[in-house]
Symmetry: C2
Subunit: 193 residues, 2 copies
């Protein structure tokens, strides 16, 4: 048997595959990218791809889950670098502003997947909802210590900024949302002075 695919090799393959799939699917859409292109970009033979993920749908779900971990991890790392609760909530929008300015920014991968597959793939829909719930809960946890009575406006401003920046191609919505959140913070409990 020639190199019967060690477990370590599988881990590396899986990583390369998810990485290539994410790049392609995010840049051009899921339906627009064929499995043959994923094969070429990942450098893996089609056979090995299908041993790791039985269907394209499985691969899409795994890549969304993988992206969720990294994306929310990066957000949390950035935001939690700020100690003051109010500044911390504002930092969410600083992080968004940086993201929007990245050259390959193309909006929210999960919202895009919903637009593409929302009705036709139950597993993808579940993954999208799971990500959005986690993002919402993350924000709620950061908002709680600030005195704002509800986290919902902060969450909605973030979602609105993401979709608007994506479609217009302009990162300004991050600033606008940040300003609005600052106003809400003021309204909830004005700074002394």
């Amino acid at each position: 048997m020639p190199a019967p695919v060690t477990e370590e090799q599988s881990r590396l393959d899986r990583h390369a595959l998810l990485d290539a799939a994410e790049r392609l699917f995010y840049a051009r859409g899921i339906q627009a990218v064929g499995m043959d292109e994923v094969r070429a970009a990942s450098g893996l033979p089609l056979k090995r791809i299908y041993r790791l993920f039985a269907t394209k749908e499985d691969l899409v779900v795994a890549m969304l889950r993988n992206r969720d971990q990294r994306w929310r991890g990066n957000l949390a790392a950035y935001v939690e670098g700020t100690a003051d609760p109010r500044e911390r909530v504002l930092a969410i929008f600083d992080w968004l502003a940086r993201w929007f300015a990245e050259p390959d920014f193309r909006g929210c991968a999960w919202t895009n997947a919903f637009g593409e597959l929302g009705t036709s793939s139950e597993p993808v829909l579940a993954e999208v909802r799971s990500h959005k719930r986690a993002f919402h809960d993350q924000i709620a946890a950061w908002v709680r210590p600030t005195g704002i009575p509800s986290a919902e406006p902060v969450h909605l401003l973030a979602e609105g900024a993401i979709v608007t920046a994506a479609i217009t191609g302009d990162p300004a919505p991050a600033r606008h949302a940040r300003t609005a959140v600052a106003t809400l913070l003021e309204a909830a409990a004005p700074e002394p002075g």
Copy 2:
């Protein structure tokens, strides 16, 4: 010549076609619906469809434009039924709440189209941007007389509510956004008393 397709007939055909196309594309996505299904739903022969619109892409753009007119028209009719400037801005979110509660609500047709075709169809992208700009400008015109210094937060809250209601399937974001806008109105120029 048997009924050489009068101009009046063309108008009716066009209407039936755009209507069927909008229903199908909105419910199940653009790429997921084939032209043959559009033919069956519209009752028009394929030949006549392709005389009205040379390509599927043309049909998609026309249906988005058609929907834009109706959708923003309905919004404006509802909102402008309220005289008081502040109440009028809040009415935007009452209208959204009703829309979110419709049984076939599936989010923003333009955002969904962006997620699906944003990179692969220049004309569709242009139509999506045109709609979003018009929606933004509509909101800005309603916000101007209220004293809120910027319309951006109202717009971002609306966009965030739409995408969140679509993905979660819960119309509550309309209420949350409305409450947030009320707070911003208060903060901008508190009611006397």
